[in-house]
């Protein structure tokens, strides 16, 4: 028996099924729309300016990364993890390498753990900067100037990452049992030169948004989500933290040297768009705080494990979680003892968060739909993989 595949409705069929009166219509906000960071379909059923129902679909840039990784050697797989979400390449690397290290039972040398934390936090800062900056262009008000500022500031962080990894976005930097390169000479001083500037800039952004009436009107109490609802519909990452739940993988599932570092999990109170952006900005300050501690504490020593990494990884399975800039990310890696992964399943952070967009959109204005979708800091590239 073959199960019949349910048919996906055409635009016309969807109109016929859902439009109940002459005052309603269905509007496309995607796959091609100025607001989207990548292609996804968002059709909204509107009555006047109000959204009554939203339809979300993705798969427009499905890359088949999970399947490709089954046909590449274990080491080659790292380069594919980079490309799932190119602004969070380092945490994707970490997630995959961490899972393989669990399979191998490898210990990562302390210095390498510190280097990984430093780079992953730098990566978080640059990801938050571009995510927030991009989003600000979607709402009126202070929007456009900070976008330019954030991109300029992000350049400084990218340069720091580049000085270690040699690449701006797709680093392929983390290795099984260590990292590829050591920190270059003068990296410490460079960081300490950039951080005071970054801190003052982030505080400036927080102040700038606080004094802008248009920002308040567009953001506050828009797209609010209660902690109970957020948990029920499976949110994670900043969407959940903005609602006041301190759920962070760095605390829940501590990896590397995170348990030895002092940092706060940033939470909001209302769970609205404004809180989501506020959390993003304050999280960057926490990341800087983490990196500063790492620079103080980092020991000297090897950056790779002494153990020889075999070509064939022993059979077994592992599930490893990291806090991606976009939320909880997990990789489920299965080895059958061969030189390639038997299966790599990515539990992407944005795939989970993206799903929660449709209930948030019900009842809001069309213009707010854009602001809400943007404040989630989406990456369709990652959710499609």
């Amino acid at each position: 028996m073959v199960t019949e595949r349910p048919k996906y409705p055409t635009f016309r069929e969807r109109e016929e099924a859902h439009i109940k009166s002459d005052s309603e219509m269905i509007m496309h906000l995607g796959p091609q729309h100025a607001m989207v960071p990548g292609p996804f379909l968002l059709d909204i059923l509107v009555e006047g300016e109000r959204v009554k129902k939203a339809f979300l679909d993705l798969g427009y840039i499905h890359k088949g990364i999970e399947k490709i990784m089954e046909n590449r050697s274990w080491l080659q797989g790292i380069t594919y993890t980079d490309r799932m979400c190119y602004v969070a390449a380092l945490s994707n690397n970490e997630c995959y390498c961490g899972a393989v290290e669990r399979l191998l039972g490898l210990e990562v040398p302390l210095r390498a753990q510190y280097i990984r934390v430093i780079l992953e936090e730098l990566s978080r800062i640059q990801s938050h900067l571009i995510g927030t900056g991009e989003f600000l262009t979607l709402i009126a008000g202070v929007g456009f100037a900070p976008w330019q500022y954030m991109i300029m500031d992000r350049e400084k962080i990218i340069s720091l990452i580049e000085s270690v990894t040699g690449a701006r976005l797709t680093h392929s930097f983390v290795r099984f049992g260590g990292v590829r390169n050591d920190l270059p000479e003068g990296f410490d001083e460079q960081c300490r030169k950039v951080f005071p500037y970054m801190k003052s800039r982030i505080e400036e952004f927080i102040e700038l948004f606080a004094q802008d009436p248009i920002y308040h009107a567009r953001m506050e109490n828009i797209g609010s989500i209660s902690p109970e609802t957020a948990k029920r519909i499976g949110c994670a990452g900043r969407v959940l933290r903005a609602a006041g739940v301190p759920y962070d993988m760095r605390i829940e599932d501590p990896i590397l040297v995170y348990p030895e570092l002092d940092f706060k999990v940033v939470t909001g109170t209302r769970g609205d768009s404004a809180d989501r952006i506020d959390c993003t900005l304050r999280e960057m300050l926490e990341s800087i705080h983490i990196i500063e501690q790492c620079l103080d504490k980092i020991p000297s020593g090897p950056i790779k494990t002494e153990a020889k990494i075999p070509k064939k990884i022993p059979a077994g399975e592992a599930y490893y979680r990291v806090e991606d800039p976009r939320g909880e990310m997990g990789m489920y890696v299965i080895s059958d003892g061969g030189d390639k992964p038997y299966r790599v399943k990515v539990r992407g952070p944005f795939y989970a968060t993206f799903q929660t967009l449709t209930p948030l959109l019900e009842g809001v204005y069309i213009a707010d739909a854009v602001a809400i979708a943007g404040s989630m800091d989406g990456c369709p590239s990652e959710s499609d993989r």
């Binding site: 669990r102 959940l240 759920y247 829940e252 979680r321 399943k345 989970a352």
Partner: protein
């Protein structure tokens, strides 16, 4: 604080016939195979009694040599404890089908669609 072996023994005593191959990797990871007929009950028990209030997704695995497919349900918790339980549900490769959890966990929807799209594993109750 709950740990993985406590969770495993609790499930094993509540559903002695339905669970097998329990494996505790560390204090916060466990793997267990659950009978497909009982998966909904096991999930409900874990959510209600053991604090697994976060359904974190599911993964499909195609075991070609064993002529079966597996759906692995990933159960976690929003801060009650750190245990992640991986519940495996086996299904034959021809006409694979696993009960849907979408009425229990709202967010199971897309994960179930994904295993259908990628593996053709039908989720009874989803459509």
């Amino acid at each position: 604080m709950t740990n993985a072996s406590e969770v495993l023994s609790s499930i094993q005593s509540a559903f002695p016939a339905a669970v097998s191959d329990g494996k505790v990797e560390s204090d916060d990871r466990l793997w267990v195979t659950v009978d497909s007929k009982k998966i909904r009950d096991v999930c409900k028990y874990m959510t209600d009694k053991l604090g697994f209030d976060h359904y974190a997704g599911s993964a499909g695995v195609d075991w070609i040599a064993r002529n079966e497919m597996e759906v692995v349900e990933i159960m976690a918790s929003y801060g009650i404890h750190n245990v992640v339980a991986m519940l495996k549900v086996k299904t034959p490769r021809d006409n694979p089908s696993v009960p849907s959890l979408v009425d229990m966990y709202w967010n199971a929807n897309w994960y179930e669609r994904e295993t259908w799209e990628m593996f053709g594993i039908s989720r009874r109750g989803q459509w």
